[in-house]
């Protein structure tokens, strides 16, 4: 039964950049694929994103960023998830990342990075294969 619950996904935009075209397109594509999608809007702090993720009890967070400030916000979000015992929430990133930053982001626990040109279809498939509903909190 529990496994039939729809996946809940938070699409979030950390930092001050307002390039939200990608985030909104992805949010729609995931919704159309049958997931429950919550979108934070622009200009979210890591604290706000993690708080929303916990409140909304999401299974995955998709972080969209194009400003280059990911080396601050991504590690901070991972740290806050750990502090809140929520490190089992799958976190992925999308946007513009220098190639050499990608292994570093994966090393801190970001499961996947989607770069420009990624297909919506492939992203949906990745979510289906890699994200499972979180076990209900005790």
């Amino acid at each position: 039964m529990g496994n039939e619950r729809k996946l809940r996904i938070l699409i979030a935009k950390p930092g001050l950049d307002g390039h939200d075209r990608g985030a909104r397109v992805i949010a729609r594509a995931l919704r159309d694929a049958g997931f429950e999608v919550i979108y934070t809007g622009c200009h979210q702090t890591p604290e706000q994103i993690v708080q929303t993720a916990l409140q909304e009890d999401v299974d995955m967070i998709g972080l969209s960023i194009l400003s280059g400030a990911h080396n601050y916000s991504f590690p901070r979000i991972m740290e806050l998830l750990r502090e809140n015992n929520a490190e089992d929430i799958v976190v992925v990133g999308g946007g513009i990342f220098p190639l050499e930053d990608i292994p570093k982001l994966k090393a801190i626990g970001i499961k996947e990075i989607f770069t420009p040109g990624s297909k919506l279809e492939d992203i949906v498939k990745w979510v289906r294969e890699n994200v499972k509903p979180r076990k209900a909190a005790a």
Binding site: R24, H43, S67, G68, I96, L99
Partner: protein, 565 residues
């Protein structure tokens, strides 16, 4: 006397011949069918196989097309266009610290750029100083960090501010940054009456697309009118708003949506200025526009020609402007960042060249050409030089600047120009019915129209109906590319510098100036309460960008993204 371009008998004859030709066409298709089921522009506007005089048979030359420099300005805003003066080559630039950006400015000027354009980093764009907790990790990444008048002084060191015009892409804090520019120029001995340039200062498109959000719409408009009023009286060579379609298009709008929403933003600013008591002919001549030049060549040219004609008609008929200058849609163009690919980045040079050519044939007054590596980062010197050289080759080698509006009279371009105007006017009627742009924004209307277009386009790309080379046709990997690096250490240095600056200044003087700014913000909008004189005093006394913006936020409240998708 009318100036119709074809006689009735000519049209009759062409109509007959056209029918026969269509039959031939159908026959030929039976042997070899068309390549596509449907031919459409990048904005998904369906186009026919052939355009003829029949498509423009109702056009009246003097009423609809006319002469360059003459109403309705379809063929260009200046009489001589590029025969007398080329467009301004104005590369959008900003990186790291003020010193690094100043170095880039000199590099570009030394390579023949003819105007400056400042890209600010995100904290500056949002009205935060580098030491704000919200600014962590952002310093100098997407532009230059400007916190104080001293940063402004470093930014323009060695540049003659009465000779070079400067465009500044700054929106909610536009009044503050403009005050810093004026104050710095005066400190350097220049007269504000001789300063030329542009502040983007287009708050409406922030709610619609760019999302540099600070204040709610109403007080944002009040500040825009303050700057227009101040410019009209004190800085007469300054363009006080650059009414921008660029970001609306980048967010996913079609060409028609870009045109319609931007023109309607323009209508809103004019209405607000008139409400303040300004005379339309006193300020409208300093309003300028900013269009995107996307990848669909003819569609862009048609859009820019339609924009000129629409704005002229609106200013004349809706606002009863008398001065022809008030009716001129003068504009800057940037090639479409969203058309570039991270895959095979050198192909971006070709895309940008085509888009720049469309901007020139569309009659732009100034132009930024994107660099091949702008998909990844602020451009490297190597890449930005190619982008500037692209404009210079088009200007000096190719011959496209020799003849004014050379595509006028093309059946296709004229028909497409008409269609742009007609479809944009549909939106304008709709926005009028909704009670104007602010009401429409509150209903999320333009935001969702754009989101729908963006999603539709993405689905068309997925299905292969819209082609992007390197992405869905001849797909390729993202290669490693040598790109500009911003040293994360500059954030610490900028914060230290800001703190030293704050310690040095006369705190009582700063506080008094900020109190005066607050008093004006709280007062009724009018010349006596115009924020600009108070801001100039405040930044001269040493108030930082954020300290001024905090006064705004405290008095006017803030606005958060409604997060629709």
């Amino acid at each position: 006397m009318g100036t119709k371009m074809f006689s009735e008998s000519a049209i009759e004859r062409i109509e007959q011949e056209y029918k026969e030709w269509l039959q031939e066409y159908e026959k030929a298709l039976q042997k070899l069918p068309e390549r596509l089921e449907r031919f459409s522009t990048v904005s998904d506007m369906e186009v026919k196989s052939l355009y003829t005089p029949l498509d423009i048979k109702h056009k009246d030359y003097m009423e609809d097309i006319g002469f360059p420099g003459c109403y309705p300005f379809t063929r260009g805003v200046q009489t001589t266009m590029y025969r007398a003066r080329l467009w301004t080559m104005r590369m959008f630039a900003g990186l790291g610290t003020a010193e690094q950006t100043n170095e880039r400015f000199h590099y570009l000027i030394n390579h023949g750029e003819t105007g400056l354009s400042v890209a600010f980093d995100f904290p500056t764009l949002m009205g935060y100083d580098t030491d704000s907790p919200l600014a962590r990790g952002e310093c100098g990444r997407c532009g230059v960090a400007i916190d104080t008048i001293e940063d402004m002084q470093r930014l323009f060191a060695g540049i003659n501010l009465e000779e070079v015009t400067t465009s500044m892409t700054i929106n909610p804090p536009a009044s503050v940054i403009w005050a810093m520019y004026i104050a710095n120029a005066e400190n350097e001995g220049y007269s504000r009456r001789k300063l030329g340039g542009t502040i983007q200062n287009d708050c409406l498109k922030e709610f619609i697309a760019q999302k540099t959000l600070m204040l709610p719409p109403e007080p944002s408009l009040r500040l825009v009118v303050d700057t227009v009023e101040f410019g009209t009286r004190e800085v007469p060579r300054w363009n006080t708003i650059s009414i921008s379609g660029y970001h609306i298009r980048e967010a996913g709008a079609t060409a028609v949506q870009e045109l319609a929403f931007t023109i309607y933003d323009g209508i809103t600013y004019v209405e607000e200025c008139i409400k303040r008591g300004l005379n339309v002919d006193d300020f409208a001549g300093r309003l300028s526009f900013f269009w995107n030049s996307h990848i669909d060549f003819f569609e862009e040219i048609a859009k820019m020609r339609a924009a000129r004609r629409m704005w002229a008609r609106i200013m004349k008929n809706r606002f009863k402007a008398q001065n022809p200058r008030s009716m001129m849609c003068r504009f800057h163009v940037q090639t479409a960042g969203c058309s570039l690919t991270a895959q095979e980045p050198y192909n971006n040079i070709i895309r940008t060249t085509t888009e720049a050519l469309a901007a020139i044939l569309g009659g732009c007054q100034s132009l930024h050409t994107n660099s091949l590596d702008e998909v990844y980062m602020i451009p490297s010197e190597f890449a930005v030089k190619i982008a500037l050289r692209t404009q210079q080759i088009l200007a000096y080698e190719v011959g496209v600047a020799n003849v004014i509006d050379p595509l006028a009279g093309s059946y296709y371009v004229e028909a497409l120009t008409d269609r742009m105007e007609e479809e944009a006017n549909e939106y304008i009627r709709k926005l009028d019915e909704m009670g104007g742009m602010v009401a429409a924004i509150e209903k999320n209307y333009p935001q969702m129209e754009i989101a729908d277009s963006a999603y539709r386009f993405q689905q068309q790309v997925e299905r292969g109906e819209k082609v992007i080379i390197g992405i869905n046709m001849f797909p390729s990997e993202i290669p490693p590319l040598e790109v500009l690096k911003i040293d994360p250490e500059i954030e610490r240095l900028q914060i230290e510098r800001l703190h030293r600056f704050k310690e040095r200044r006369n705190k009582i003087k700063v506080q008094k100036a900020l109190d005066e700014l607050r008093r004006r913000c709280e007062g009724k909008p009018c010349w006596e309460n115009n924020v600009m004189p108070a801001l100039i005093e405040a930044v001269k006394a040493g108030a930082t960008e954020q300290e001024c913006c905090d006064v705004y936020r405290e008095v006017f409240g803030t606005y958060t993204d409604p997060a629709s998708f």
